[in-house]
Every structure is written in C-alpha cells, then in structure tokens.
Symmetry: C2
Subunit: 213 residues, 2 copies
C-alpha cells in the first residue's frame, strides 16, 4: 500500500465540512480540491468551466426534463459519448479527473462522490461532517450571508440536492454511518477540532491497518 | 457543566461496539453498562430479570400480536401503568435506570436508546460503531460462534431489530450520521483504535465546548 492518503469529505450544508477539509490539507501540507475540481475537469476535457459549474453536484434531471431541455440524448455526441444525459457525461469526465488527482499523491477531496469513485483504492479515508440544524443555520448566515429567514430552507434544500446527487451516482446512501469510515459533528469539535480528529483517525488506522475488527 | 461524561454506544451487530465500549470504560476507569442494565432495571423495579431480558432492545409488537399474546392492554396494571404494552412499560422503567446511572457519574452505556433517553443532558457523547458486512460476519463466527452459513443473515436481522427498537422509541434514525456525535468503522481501527479515537474526540470536545462550528 502507498503511504499516500486521500481524504474524501462529504458534508451537510453549513457544517463547515469544506473548511474542515481545507484546514486538514493545510495541517498536512497536501492539495485541497473542492470547487477547484471544476476548473481542473474543464482543463482536462477542453470543455467550458460553465458547463461543469452548472452541473456541479447535481444528479441528471428526469428524462422528461432533459428531453424538454434538449440534452437527452446528446444530439451531437460532442463529448465523445452519445446517448447519455449531459450531467452523466460530465460526471464521468470529473471522475477521471478525481482518479488522476488521487493517484498523484495525498490530497483532500470534498464532495462529488469521490469516496465512491475511489472505492477500489485502499489508501482512502472517507469522512462525513455534519452538525445540528441550529449550528448550521447560524454558520450559513454568518459565513455565506444567507438571509436569516431563509437559512433553514437553504440548508435543507442543499442537503437534499447533495443526497440526490450522491445516491444517483453511487450504490451507497448519503449521510448513513456505514457509507463513511468516520463521521463527526462539527458543532461538538469546531473546524480545527474536526481536522485534528481526522488526523488522529489516520494515525490509528495506519497502526491497525488490515487487521479487521 | 459536570466534568463527568456519559458515552452512549450504538452499534451494528458484529462490529465489536460492545467491546469498544468495554475497552473505553477500562481505559477511563468508569462503569460499563450493556446487559448489566437488565439486572439493574430488574432490581430497581422489583420485576424479574427474565421479563427485561425477553424485551431487551425489542420494540413493542404490533397491537394485533399484543392482543393475541394478552399483553395489550395490561390486564392487571401490575407495573403501575395501565393501558400500555408491556415492552413500553419495561422501556420506561429501564429509561429511569439509565437516567439514574448517568446522573451518578461518568460511564459507558451500550444500546437501549440511551442517547435519546439522555438527550437533555449536556455531558453526553453519542457514538455509533459499524463495519462492513465481511468484517462483521467474520467476527460473528469467531466471537459468537454463529454458524458460517447463517452469519450474514444473523447480522442483518439483528441490525433490523435494533433499528426497529431505536426508531420506535426515539424521534431519530438508527445508523444515520446526524443521530450521533461520532461514528466509526471498527474494521479500519480495530477495538483498541476505536476506544482511543473516542478518547481523542472527548478531549477535543472538552477543549472546544460550546463554541459552535
């Protein structure tokens, strides 16, 4: 097994999961990929960033909607794969980018089904960051400047979209304990505490590696 | 806030969650309650251990079944509460025992909705221990001597019963990340590693306490 480790981070909206990943990457001195994946996938494929940005963490729309919008099936096959909804094609391209980045060395990848995409690698630690709604609403207002009277709705809808995306492209369930190796309440530990807890997990995992329960 | 901490541990069957709790309690030098709760609840209430043992982590049967079995509604009101299924009455008695034990000092409590029962206390850390089915089956055969060809079925059915019990008596969902403060894959860390990771969590939580995300 490689001594490199890829940390994937799923997260509830407003839980600070992105910031946990960033702090973890800084502490370990390794690359961090979140929205960065959009630009890299665009560069890898020669397609526009806007295309990836628009599809980011969204499951393919219903076939009916896709037909109406004219993106199912692909009329031109411009992306090299025909008869496949646009979002699915973009997902495949982004998957390749994620696999390439993961093969290049230790890193932190936020969202985008990275845990599922990298399921055949043995040097991946899959994490989920969550927090109670009160804490998330507070953070959404403070950090993302979401209007206070809309913050709860924004959190719940974002989570629903992330769950839909994840459950559509994987055979796992978003937000279930068994989907991840470690899940953490960021309201209990804070951003820095979560990053430290993940570092502790990685050390214990390396010490135990492969010995089962 | 008290400096005492109560650790509650939910667990998939075969994940070694009970052993994680026992190891944690030994490391911290605090009491450990799993099956022990049956004898204590019996002593507290003056009822027989067999009664609690039979109802242990089982949700109330359907009303139809209860009627057939003659335990709904209680004919005699022998337990001091009438018109309530037997298992619900035993659950209430066990809840009182759990609250009393938790109020007496630091301890580890396995299963039995303890996290939900203690939801109004602020010195509780709620943990879920899980592992992939392969590891759990292996452990069930090795530790509980479950026949190899039945082990998978035993694991899945036990989980189903635990989920039913938990979801029936709480307003939370068994096995969902957001139900717990920390969840861990025991196949990644082993028993000892899980206990150490929980101790690390508690330290980071004490340091951060109450500051939100």
């Amino acid at each position: 097994m490689s001594t490199n480790v890829v940390f994937t981070i799923g997260r509830q909206f407003g839980s600070g999961g992105r910031q946990v990943g960033k702090t973890l990457a800084e502490k370990l001195g390794i690359p961090f990929y979140d929205k960065e994946l959009i630009a890299i996938s665009a560069r890898d494929s020669g397609l526009s960033e806007a295309l990836f940005s628009n599809a980011d963490e969204k499951a393919t729309s219903s076939i009916f909607y896709s037909l109406v919008m004219g993106n199912y099936p692909m009329a031109s096959g411009a992306l090299g794969v025909t008869e496949m909804p646009l979002n699915d094609q973009l997902f495949l391209i982004q998957s390749k980018t994620i696999k390439r980045l993961a093969s290049e060395g230790s890193c932190v990848i936020v969202g985008r089904c990275a845990d599922y995409i990298l399921r055949d690698m043995d040097n991946v630690v899959n994490i989920f960051v969550h927090a109670d709604l009160k804490n998330r609403v507070e953070r959404a207002v403070r950090v993302y400047e979401v209007p206070e009277n809309k913050a709860e709705d924004v959190c719940l809808k974002a989570d629903k979209q992330r769950a839909n995306f994840y459950n559509y492209y994987s055979d796992r369930k978003w937000g279930m304990c068994r989907t991840y190796d470690l899940s953490l309440d960021s309201g209990m530990l804070g951003i820095e505490g979560c990053a430290d807890q993940i570092i502790s997990f990685e050390k214990l995992w390396r010490a135990h590696k492969g010995q089962g329960i």
